[in-house]
Symmetry: C2
Subunit: 247 residues, 2 copies
């Protein structure tokens, strides 16, 4: 279904570049103007796009999309349960806090964020994705997946993003064992350079990992001496979210 795939790509492009004009999108995709235009009108009629208030030839995402939420966040549950513990954690450590959920395609997606007030801080937008095998949140999830699923995932080697990335399946498995023992996962420059994160999983009633909370901070502020305390706080926060979510 070519037209559907293309429409969704265009929708995503509008989201990234909003408010955006027809012409900008045609340059972006190299498609005929009429094709892009027709797609935009269709998306608008369906209620997913709307014209910008100030410049009606620019398009932006309508609020309608908010009714379409990932299963992991359905109802209020997880999202609402996580918010206040995350804020409290931020107040304790004054670093950026993320909530991420696993998605298909071996990636984690940032679902919520609470900022710290340092002038220099890590930056991920809601919706950003990162690889399961090279992030603290990913490891926190993997560590609590059934053995079978991990084996399915961890075969051969993974993509590397720097010299610290774990690219070997066997190495990943031993790291996951450490994560289980400590209760939290740590990432030193495995994915993005200059960024560290400490993460712990949020589980459902059956022990299935639903999401992970992470403290994320620039390398420059990371002190090994703080690790144990940060780990403990993140783990407690994750446990509190789990408890609230089940209630």
């Amino acid at each position: 279904m070519k037209s559907v795939t293309r429409s969704l790509r265009i929708l995503e492009a509008v989201a990234r570049h909003q408010p955006v004009t027809v012409g900008e999108l045609t340059k972006l995709f190299g498609l005929p103007k009429s094709t892009v235009q027709r797609t935009l009108v269709t998306l608008n009629e369906a209620g997913w796009l709307r014209a910008n208030r100030r410049d009606t030839t620019r398009w932006e995402i309508g609020a309608r999309v908010l009714a379409v939420r990932p299963a992991a966040l359905q109802g209020s549950s997880l999202f609402a349960a996580a918010r206040e513990p995350m804020i409290r954690l931020r107040d304790r450590v004054n670093e950026t806090i993320h909530l991420s959920v696993p998605d298909a395609l071996h990636s984690m997606v940032v679902v919520d964020r609470v900022d710290c007030d340092h002038p220099v801080r890590t930056f991920h937008t809601i919706g950003d994705t990162s690889p399961l095998h090279a992030t603290a949140t990913g490891h926190a999830i993997l560590a609590h997946l059934p053995r079978r699923e991990v084996d399915e995932f961890a075969t051969g080697t993974f993509e590397g993003y720097g010299e610290d990335t774990i690219t070997d399946a066997e190495e990943l498995r031993t790291e996951l064992q450490r994560v289980r023992e400590r209760g939290y996962a740590v990432n030193h420059n495995q994915y993005l350079q200059g960024i560290c994160a400490i993460a712990a999983p949020v589980l459902d009633g059956d022990g299935v990992p639903l999401a992970a909370v992470a403290v994320s901070l620039p390398d420059s502020r990371f002190e090994p001496g703080r690790l144990a305390e940060l780990g403990r706080l993140v783990t407690e926060t994750a446990a509190e979210i789990t408890a609230r979510h089940l209630r």
Copy 2:
């Protein structure tokens, strides 16, 4: 573009009923199974859907959609700015707090929510829509729109949802004048029966209304004597969000 429109409808249906099977969707739409199936596969390939973890014949929304956010919430700005003041407001009044933004088609969409802990409380999910002319948040927005736009909107009569709904355009205009004078809007059973709300607008630098914060409570707990104080608190909260958002 029939296939695009249909795919979006199916996507919305999946969001409402997830995790859902092909068969359930065919019943819902009265379409041939193969058509629905093909659509689901396409949406999945585009990364918008994924198979449920436990039952792989059930479909649910993938986390990809989170990267597609309404213009009103772009970046972190409004959404992040609103969160903490909303929580503080909830702590003060112990009632449910909503943040809503106007959408095309004369409706307000709930963008965020902070719950109170009363056993009986109002319930709106993120993404829920309600009519501009019959809600406190809608009035808060309309009251700060340029005269020209209000005139365009307020022509003839509006749909009524009960005996308290303002259905006359002229009557709405005088109500909006009162809202401007008081600084906040009040809704007594105008839309949903048994629910009251008090709302104030969040403005951008040019005075354009971007969103509205509301305290929402069941009729049974509403005391006229509290109104002035609730109104003041909501107005202060909206002003604080505005200030944080501009910063």
